[in-house]
């Protein structure tokens, strides 16, 4: 957690940026936000990312402005966006060192530029009047590194809203989201990392159920890490009066793979649905079922490859496509089965679906630990070992990583708290709850951050590398 939100220097910067924004007159506030974003991206110390971002913002604005008279400019713009993304992915695959430090934000700003051009070409959005708007759309510092993906039209409305200056309600919501995101990252994700890393660091001797146990921990870590970043980004944006999209909705409570993708990385799912799946489905409309299945296949393969040009990510994408296709093909049969058993709308059936979806999802998540061919081989070899007696002991060892009971209890207790908040969050809006519930909740969150946060032993945000 060293760059961006993970750097100590970020917080004085955030305070200063907020003060400048709050003090500027209404007409100048967007310029203040643009300058803050420029400083943030420049401070990452990756000059070519800054150059690519600035160049792409300018090109996209220029191409977008010409689309009305000549739509082929939009196609050139899309080629430029895809070219930047593919070049970055190839560089990432060729140089693992560069992958970790040199490609921050590329996957996010290129896809957003592409969606802007597509929307303008389709007439869904008018072209941006000023390059400043487009710069802010691509480089807005809270979402620059890991999203969420925003649509230009929505973002433009939020920019207009932020011109009014600070609102107390936004600040309350923003600070709470920021603190909750920090909890997800430094308490849940960082603590789970210390447990799961033990088994994944010893794949040469690990056994199948140890790997599976550790993978549950890694799945919790991955979710808390990414959701934590998104909540921090949304919270920080709210401080400036901008409302960003929610990216997660308790994905590990999904009842099917399709439901999972409506809850996990929602902004990417929507992007892929709108710009890849639906156009392909329409294109192949003469071939109804086959066309839908093929569109699913392509869309999820692209989702996998968006994470990285590695075998593991491709397998992850194809696995998701496979689960989706199987789910689609067996839907009628499963419905009839549940109906005949009288369990169509029972809590048992839903719990079983949640448990099964969780297993399938965790199997996909394992690909993050097997990004390349060597990783796939190592994970596969570990999964082939130790299928005899004592599997449950291996599973417990994988869940705890052999760490002392206190550390394991703290990590899994934090996961339980996370799930509880997700469940309660559907019924209770904390900010509108009575003081007897609100203030103790704030205190519990602050104390959890103080006592259980692992701030300096943690690694960076996982999704920043994509």
């Amino acid at each position: 957690m060293r760059a961006g939100f993970g750097a100590l220097a970020f917080y004085p910067f955030l305070g200063l940026a907020w003060l400048v924004w709050a003090c500027l007159p209404a007409g100048r506030r967007a310029a203040g936000l643009a300058l803050a974003s420029l400083v943030f991206v420049a401070a990452l110390g990756q000059p070519w990312v800054l150059a690519a971002l600035a160049g792409l913002a300018l090109l996209t604005w220029a191409f977008g402005a010409r689309i009305a008279g000549a739509p082929h400019w939009g196609l050139w713009g899309i080629v430029a966006c895809l070219g930047t993304l593919i070049a970055a992915r190839v560089a990432l695959a060729a140089d693992a060192g560069l992958a970790l430090v040199g490609l921050v934000g590329v996957s996010y700003f290129t896809l957003q530029a592409l969606s802007y051009l597509a929307d303008v070409m389709l007439g869904a959005e008018p072209a941006a009047a000023s390059p400043l708007d487009l710069w802010l759309y691509l480089a807005w510092f809270p979402k620059f590194m890991q999203g969420p993906f925003e649509r230009f039209g929505t973002f433009r409305q939020e920019l207009a809203r932020s011109q009014a200056g600070p609102r107390a309600e936004d600040l309350r919501q923003g600070l709470l989201l920021l603190a909750w995101g920090l909890f997800e990252k430094v308490v849940v994700a960082s603590r789970m990392e210390s447990l799961s890393a033990v088994t994944f660091g010893r794949l040469d001797t690990a056994r199948a159920f140890q790997v599976w146990g550790a993978n549950y921990g890694f799945a919790a870590q991955l979710f808390a890490d990414f959701s934590g970043y998104t909540d921090m980004a949304r919270g920080i944006s709210l401080l400036f009066g901008l409302r960003l999209s929610a990216n997660f909705n308790a994905p590990f409570l999904a009842e099917s793979v399709a439901d999972f993708w409506r809850r996990w990385h929602i902004s990417l799912s929507d992007w892929v649905k709108d710009y890849v799946f639906v156009p392909l489905q329409v294109w192949w409309r003469d071939w109804p079922l086959g066309g839908t299945l093929a569109a699913l296949f392509v869309a999820y393969a692209l989702v996998g490859l968006w994470h990285g040009a590695g075998l593991g990510f491709l397998i992850a994408g194809l696995l998701q496509a496979l689960w989706m296709i199987l789910s689609l093909l067996t839907r009628g049969w499963r419905k009839a089965l549940w109906k005949s058993a009288g369990l169509e709308s029972s809590a048992w059936r839903r719990s079983l679906d949640v448990a099964l979806t969780l297993q399938l999802t965790c199997l996909t998540v394992l690909s993050f630990k097997a990004a390349d061919a060597a990783g796939v081989r190592a994970v596969a070899a570990a999964c082939a070992r130790g299928w005899g007696a004592g599997w449950w002991r291996d599973l417990l060892e994988g869940l705890g990583g052999g760490k002392p009971a206190g550390e394991v209890a703290a990590a899994w207790g934090a996961v339980a708290a996370l799930v509880l908040v997700h469940l309660l969050g559907r019924r209770i809006r904390l900010l509108e709850s009575p003081a007897w519930l609100r203030y103790p909740s704030y205190a519990a969150l602050a104390l959890a951050l103080l006592f259980f946060g692992r701030y300096f032993a943690a690694t960076g945000f996982l999704y920043a590398r994509f």
Binding site: G165, L171, R202, E397, G402, L450, F456, A458
Partner: protein
């Protein structure tokens, strides 16, 4: 900003200020208590301060050294500076800081336990101790990531919240109640009736720890620190000795994997630096009754072992630069 928002913003600012003040007060209290709490590290520092003018033999190492060597049994004045969770990184930092301040120092003995070469204070889940080393001896934390934590010593809360809360509140857990003025901690032997059962359980526990969490670094990590210490001894004209303390036979059998390579590397290092080396790992002179657990000697075993060390290293020890292997 909109004029109607001003009172709400001021109210929110006041509430936030109050919350920050309360949290700062809580952090300050924890920090204060954590600094004030007595620990074995302070006991050791004060003991060595008092003995600094006369100490001729210094013992370094982790807990297996702390419990195994009682310097009061030697003819020459010595001090046992080994401690729980003291990795070779801390041994080295302590030697570099203390060697110039001990005018009579002639010899340094290093206890190297089975996992010593590969562990760090963090990998042993002993990170709280890292902050105590920093407070008492001014040694930066072994984990570079933890050196910049603004919570300073109570940063250990981030890794060992239960242990450190206990430490902050009443100083428990890190104080050694049976520490002698020479720095030796006396441990009672295991209950004779339960000995076999306890030992086999402990072997399994240690096996799991070694396999999954303790040995996170390659042996070269520890060998690097040990090599630097031996070189420092040589440069200062101090005789250096390295020993592997005895363990119970069952534990010794469980630890054989990888040991020959570590042992060969240790021997080669000592030879190259002119240090004496003795391996007591499988020493048949020690039986289960001599141990407090699988690898820590109880008081009777420690008394015998201390005399053995005196004979092997101190009585006829080779001068600096010549080794006995």
């Amino acid at each position: 900003m909109p004029g109607s928002e001003r009172p709400a913003l001021i109210r929110l600012g006041l509430k936030l200020g109050l919350a920050v003040l309360l949290l700062a007060a809580l952090c300050g209290w924890l920090e204060w208590e954590a600094r004030r709490a007595p620990t074995s590290f302070r006991q050791k520092r004060l003991g060595l301060d008092a003995a600094a003018a006369t100490v001729q033999v210094l013992v370094l190492g982790p807990s297996v050294g702390l419990n195994a060597v009682d310097p009061s049994l030697w003819a020459r004045p010595g001090f046992n500076l080994a401690n729980n969770g003291q990795s070779l990184y801390y041994d080295r930092a302590l030697l570099e800081r203390w060697a110039p301040r001990l005018p009579q120092l002639r010899q340094v003995l290093f206890a190297v336990g089975r996992p010593s070469l590969s562990v760090t204070v963090t990998s042993m889940n002993e990170s709280a101790r890292g902050f105590a080393f920093c407070r008492e001896f001014g040694i930066p934390h072994e984990d570079p990531g933890l050196r910049s934590d603004p919570r300073n010593f109570s940063a250990a809360l981030a890794l060992d919240p239960f242990k450190v809360l206990c430490w902050a509140v009443n100083g428990a857990g890190l104080v050694l109640s049976d520490l002698s003025p020479d720095g030796w901690e006396s441990l009672p032997p295991l209950d004779e009736d339960q000995q076999e059962l306890q030992l086999s359980g402990l072997v399994a526990q240690m096996h799991a720890l070694r396999q999954r969490s303790m040995m996170v670094e390659p042996a070269s990590y520890g060998l690097g620190h040990l090599g630097a210490m031996l070189a420092l001894c040589r440069a200062r004209g101090l005789r250096a000795g390295v020993f592997v303390p005895p363990v119970t036979p069952e534990f010794a059998a469980d630890c054989e994997d990888g040991r020959p390579a570590d042992l060969a590397a240790l021997r080669a290092l000592c030879r190259s630096q002119g240090a004496a080396f003795h391996d007591y790992f499988h020493d048949p002179r020690f039986r289960d009754a001599d141990f407090a657990d699988v690898d820590h000697l109880a008081a009777p075993g420690a008394a015998r072992f201390t005399k053995i060390l005196e004979k092997d290293f101190l009585s006829n020890g080779p001068p600096a630069g010549a080794a006995a292997h």
